[in-house]
Symmetry: C2
């Protein structure tokens, strides 16, 4: 099939040791033999065998990334950042779609353990004891992205969700709104749910506004249909609100579509601010004002952390990425 180091050696009449040396540029050979070897490599179309190398070096030049859902704009953006920097290190990235399913995730980890991946990125997942034990047994660097673990000492890179929600709500108030509703996403979600609710409440309190339970509706998740379904409920509970903070861009898009159906004009009748700054927020009508997470950057930062851990072997500090308000046209100045 594919030619080996042995074939090259034979062709040039040197030992495999020598070939290996020039292959790795270690020196200890004459210019002449180097040229001959290099030439033979070209001629034979020799490809180093990653299996053999891995066996010796215990290194696969591969990292894995696990998502609850690969095919979301959210995941895609992170993946983009990860892929770019991983490729820069000469490594490859394996993607895994866990569907937030425990058994499936464990099966993946097993596979990744056998493949001896050099590092693992966990996106938007809660780390269970089962996962953690497995990860520990693998002795593989791990970094969390857009999530964190309160139980286990895993480094993470994410935005401060509570702070970001505070900023979004505060922005609305700065624009003159006092009656502000919220579509919260899943409040059971300890990472992306509750903290954003807390941030919203705190911003209100900070300006001396009292929080009213009627101004918030808790959707099941963070999707478009969640927004679509929730806005009518919110408006029924709280007809007097002039603005709504949606816990995700998808929810915001759903709310906007819902408003459109009900003949409510955005932002004339109702202002909307989202969360994430996905590509869809640009495509919205009107374009969506939102608080941005630097997703691609987060991916690349996380990947860099992984490589630091592999090389230095040291524990790495977590990173809180800064969020920013992207002003577009879905919020009206009151």
């Amino acid at each position: 099939m594919s030619s080996t180091i042995k074939d090259v050696a034979k062709q040039v009449n040197v030992s495999i040791a020598t070939v290996s040396r020039v292959l790795n540029g270690q020196g200890g050979y004459s210019k002449a033999t180097e040229a001959k070897v290099l030439n033979a490599i070209k001629e034979l179309g020799y490809q180093p065998n990653a299996f053999a190398r891995g066996l010796i070096n215990n290194k696969s030049n591969t990292v894995a990334i696990l998502f609850p859902e690969v095919s979301s704009q959210f995941s895609s953006k992170i993946l983009r950042g990860v892929e770019e920097t991983v490729h820069g290190f000469g490594s490859s990235v394996i993607v895994c779609n866990t569907a937030s399913h425990g058994q499936r995730t464990m099966k993946y980890l097993q596979l990744l353990a056998e493949k001896r991946v050099d590092g693992i990125l966990f996106v938007s997942e809660i780390i269970t004891e089962e996962y953690y034990d497995k990860l520990e047994s693998m002795h593989t660097p791990v970094v969390l992205v857009a999530t964190e673990s309160y139980q286990y000492p895993l480094p993470f890179v994410k935005v401060d969700d509570k702070h970001a929600a505070f900023t979004a709500t505060d922005y609305l108030m700065k624009m003159g709104h006092h009656k502000i509703g919220m579509i919260s996403g899943n409040k059971e979600d300890i990472i992306a749910g509750q903290p954003r609710i807390d941030g919203y409440k705190q911003a209100l309190a900070n300006k001396g506004l009292t929080f009213d339970e009627k101004n918030i509706v808790h959707s099941k998740g963070f999707s478009f249909t969640d927004g679509l379904d929730s806005l009518p409920n919110l408006l029924e509970q709280a007809p007097d609100i002039t603005a709504v903070f949606a816990a995700s861009d998808a929810i915001a898009m759903g709310a906007i579509s819902s408003a459109y159906k009900m003949g409510i004009k955005i932002p004339e009748d109702l202002s909307v601010i989202g969360y994430d700054n996905l590509p869809i927020s640009e495509m919205s009508i009107p374009p969506l004002t939102t608080v941005a997470q630097p997703l691609e950057k987060m991916g690349s930062v996380a990947a860099n952390m992984l490589f630091s851990m592999m090389n230095a072997g040291q524990k790495i500090e977590s990173r809180i990425m800064s969020h920013t308000i992207i002003e577009r046209e879905s919020v009206r100045i009151l």
Copy 2:
């Protein structure tokens, strides 16, 4: 570090051959030893080493997929389908972002060759001679997704672009439109560009309508901003059109946003039909009528083809996937 087959053998006082046998369930050992071995494996937390296995079997249980851009909804959907079926086969998928860049692509192929991936999926790319030669030298099954090669005998899975464009245009005519414009995307694109233009023209001709060059504008690409920029031009050239066929959903979304800015109502003043049926088409205001490509399905079909090729070693037939019109609310009945 990690324990090996040898450790297991020692623990149970059998030979490594025996351990290997029960590991692979080949039979040829007593129930008693099997139990003991299995037990020791659990106890020691033994993990098979994929490097060693790969070295012997010449199989990595890994396939690679190359995209011009990983972080698009288009790519994501395909990836989702691929990941699902590949995982079903107990393999992993490596993602590569080529950026449609020759050198970068070649570097990827080199890496994949060294890793001895079992198969390669090429999405939305033109296969150059350089790529093909490299692929040939790798002796690795390849299947093309959402593209095809006129020069090289590579199996593909895609929609019939010309036919789909015909269907879209024909749908518009069935809804009573006679003056139909098109925003074509990149007409130099031999796979996704020209065929869709041809389909549009043919649908017109089929109903006895004459094609007018003024009714079409060729954007640089297939993106949102292409649609945003192109609609005004189209409307200037052809003020009397009542409907437009956009060569992608992103273009359609851009056109709709553009119309919104110009105070043109969709679909009352102008009907729009897209192409792809990405998730965004649901989120559009109004929801976008479009011709759907079954992207996720295409991914899974392509992956299945890959495994057939690996196992059977046989050449595989290409697959033309059927497209369908998804009726939503962006087309008005005239």
